[in-house]
Amino acid sequence: MSQVRIRVPEKAKAGDVITVRALVTHPMEVMQTRDGKPVEKNYNFIHKVEASYNGKPVLEAETTQAVSQNPFFSFTIKVNEPGKVRVIFHDTEGKTYTGEADIKF
């Protein structure tokens, strides 16, 4: 159900700084309060995002419930050789959502 979409430039040159846009379909459930107290429930949101290029980490984000539904992240990578961008989203239920994209030269 949940899925990751990644957008990268079609072509890159060695030494280019490319912009990667990653989006995951996720509800990012928020905390509900009743009479000012949190309602007991396990909230399901993405708490960690990891992005790597050819296995080398580029970005790691710690996210909270205060990130919008269907979270979107855009970041840059300096590419020196062709390779694969991998973005992994971890949610608090222990599920992971992975997306990959190839960078061609």
Partner: protein, 171 residues
């Protein structure tokens, strides 16, 4: 006039039932609570306590001074956000991203949210340039801070008020 005593009688019965019911629930708590607390201890999804923005800043940075970002960092934020559930943030900076000097962490903090830290992003020099974007939630009109922490320990802060027309749910 007949209805009043009847009502009282009913209420009494209800109270008795509630008492019994309450006793039943109380008896069940010791059994039911144990797995619950264990889950809460490991549960990443459990709500964390509310925090004031000063507490968040102290927790993250201790007593280190925050410098104004000035022209070191450019942050695109709307002045008025119609929907607090989706507020786009774009951060660009000309701070160096070299192996020996780079931006280590970016913090996005909404002052008046129940839990002010929206997101922390850690970067490596492989990013090449600082340019990140995401969408955040805001509970209401508030200041939004973006704080960049460089590898040599400097903190640069950008602050702007965003007016929110429709709150984006507690966040």
């Amino acid at each position: 006039m007949n209805t009043i005593p009847q009502h009282n009688h009913d209420a009494g019965r209800r109270r008795a039932l509630r008492l019994f019911g309450g006793a039943g629930v109380a008896a069940m708590i010791p059994l039911g609570l144990l797995p619950g607390t264990a889950a809460a201890a490991s549960g990443l999804g459990m709500p964390k306590p509310d925090e004031k923005v000063e507490q968040t800043l102290e927790r993250l940075f201790g007593k280190r001074p925050l410098q104004a970002a000035g022209d070191k960092m450019k942050v695109e934020l709307p002045l008025i956000a119609e929907n607090g559930a989706v507020v786009p943030v774009r951060i660009e900076s000309n701070l160096p991203m070299q192996a020996n000097s780079y931006v280590k962490n970016i913090y996005i903090i909404t002052d008046k949210n129940r839990r002010p830290l929206n997101a922390r992003m850690s970067l490596t020099p492989d990013a090449g340039k600082l340019s990140i974007a995401t969408n955040i939630r805001m509970g209401g009109t508030s200041d939004v801070r973006v704080i960049a922490e460089t590898s040599d320990g400097n903190l640069y802060q950008f602050k702007q008020e965003v007016k929110v027309t429709v709150g984006g749910c507690g966040g």
